[in-house]
Amino acid sequence: MRTKTHLWLGLLGIVLFAVVFLVPFAFILFTAAKTATEAGKLQFSLPTTWTLLQNFGDALRARDYMLIIAFINSIVLTVASITALVVLSAMVAYVLQRRESRWSGLVNMLVLSGLIIPPAVVPTVWVLQKLGLFKTLTGLIFIEIAFGLSFCILLFRAFIATIPRDLDEAAIIDGAGPTRLFFKVIFPLLRSVMVTVIIVQSVAIFNDFANPLYFLPGDENATVQLTVFNFQSQFNTQYNLLFADILLITIPPLLLFLFLNRRIVEGMTAGAVKG
């Protein structure tokens, strides 16, 4: 009896989850594959003729290959900020975890504030402008690094706490200096948490909308999120192309998710449960 109710509960769950969580994605796919007139009806139905590839092509070609340029920008932004984030936050987390000093309190407080405090928009624009970095990809990379540090430091620090200090001491006895100790001994051991940091942050940065909107306005170096947002006003009669765009920017996280689902969930709940 008991297992039977659970079977029914499971089936009910599947149906409910499918309706609530999968139908919107099916809607994106179907609409992206329709012709312009059919998509304009906003109906949830299979396309009568599948023109998905053609719509992808049209969406990519629109406004002088804007979306392709945006993809390149987004990838450069993501890769550059993540590389810097991983190295810099691992360095901070390492010293913060290993060396208790009068600085630790201050550093901990700054890390926490970085996580909680909403960044001030116009003063950040002002700083970027003073440095000549406003409306540049370099400027946005620095912004993403600054805003992402706190989260990465927390993840790295929790992991570094599990690496025994004996290892440090063995390396020190073998004559390793501080830089070699960290980069040759500790850093390679961080691989698993590094994967987590890379996944979680790359999703966040690739999907980031507000920061590119504030700090990298203008068409010449738009990121994908901004491009799709701007397409909305341009394509409001061509829903098939709008949804082809949405589908295209959903594919990278989908691929990550299919291959690394478990890793992502681990990363996002890491440390969370301990409070």
Partner: protein, 307 residues
């Protein structure tokens, strides 16, 4: 999230280095802080501190004129801006509350012995990874008052759906619902992690004592997954109070100003060239987030020590 707790833990291992404290210290050089500190200082600390000053000025990014509290007076006298403040609180409370309740319900379902658990968990979690803009634009179409899928489905069931984003009364709530749809997966996996970390002995003991499913939830799961609940509440509140992307993608604060939140007011004032006023909005948001999240954080961490 666990700074205080962990900071205390890190003190302990230091005892191993009693023999040569001075030499050992130099193996963890302070300059490792430096590159991160410079970036964090220039692009986060400086703007945050200068926002307090610039909120007291009339400002065009190159010249400023000190005008005292005028921006704040303007902020609190303009009813459109006040709506933003009120909406921010409503939005944060609604999304946070629903994420806690629904996330817990889904976590309970997904930790009970039903079929296809892994699949269902993945399905619920996927929207967390999808672009907010993509989700916002999709639901904008799904919520279309006459042609949208949601109202058509409701129509089949004989219910006349509201006009969602077009109706001033429903606009903010509609966006909040989409926010919950997108974010509930994260709350769910955090709750699941909390529930599976409860030792099995408690459940076995309660089964021996003949506890009902509700008692098991009320007396075991709820109190013992408190750290997870804390995390969900704090994450959802921070996210809700700062929320901008989804609102901007779906309504841009409209119709009128009925779904404006502080974050969208800040952006609108910035676009309009009122830099001082925009920055004052930032300071208000800063104070609001700090006033709500920090005390809550302390309250929860203190309670955990008592447990």
């Amino acid at each position: 999230m666990s700074t205080e707790v962990e900071a205390r833990q890190t003190v302990e291992p230091a005892t191993t280095t009693l023999a040569a404290p001075a030499r050992n210290k130099s193996h963890y050089p302070y300059w490792f802080y430096l590159p991160a500190a410079v970036i964090f200082f220039v692009f986060f600390v400086v703007p945050t501190f200068s926002s307090f000053f610039f909120s007291l000025t009339r400002w065009d990014l190159s010249d400023w004129e000190f005008i005292g509290l005028e921006n704040y007076v303007a902020f609190f006298q303009e009813s459109a801006l006040l709506t933003g403040l009120k909406n921010t609180l409503i939005y944060a409370l609604v999304t946070c509350g629903l994420k806690v309740v629904l996330g817990m319900a889904l976590a309970l379902l997904l930790t009970s012995p039903i079929i296809a658990k892994g699949f269902l968990r993945s399905v619920a979690f996927f929207p967390v990874l999808v672009s907010t803009i993509g989700v916002g634009l999709t639901f904008q179409v799904l919520m279309d008052p006459s042609n949208g899928l949601i109202n058509k489905s409701l129509g089949v069931a004989g219910i006349e759906g509201p006009a969602w984003l077009v109706d001033p009364k429903f606009a903010l709530l509609s966006v909040a619902l989409v926010d919950v749809w997108k974010g509930v997966g994260l709350a769910t996996v955090i709750f699941i992690a909390g529930i599976v970390s409860i030792p099995r002995e408690y459940f076995e003991a309660s089964a021996v004592d003949g506890a009902s499913a509700f008692q098991r939830f009320r007396r075991i799961i709820l109190p013992l997954s408190k750290p997870a609940t804390t995390t969900v509440i704090i994450l959802a509140l921070i996210g809700g109070l700062r929320s901008f992307d989804l609102i901007w993608a779906m309504t841009r604060g409209g119709p009128g100003f009925t779904s404006d939140v502080i974050a969208s007011v800040i952006y609108k004032q910035y676009q309009a060239g009122f830099y001082g006023l925009s920055t004052a909005g930032n300071v208000v948001l800063f104070l609001l987030v700090t006033a709500i999240v920090f005390p809550l954080f302390r309250f929860f961490t203190r309670q955990e020590v008592d447990l």
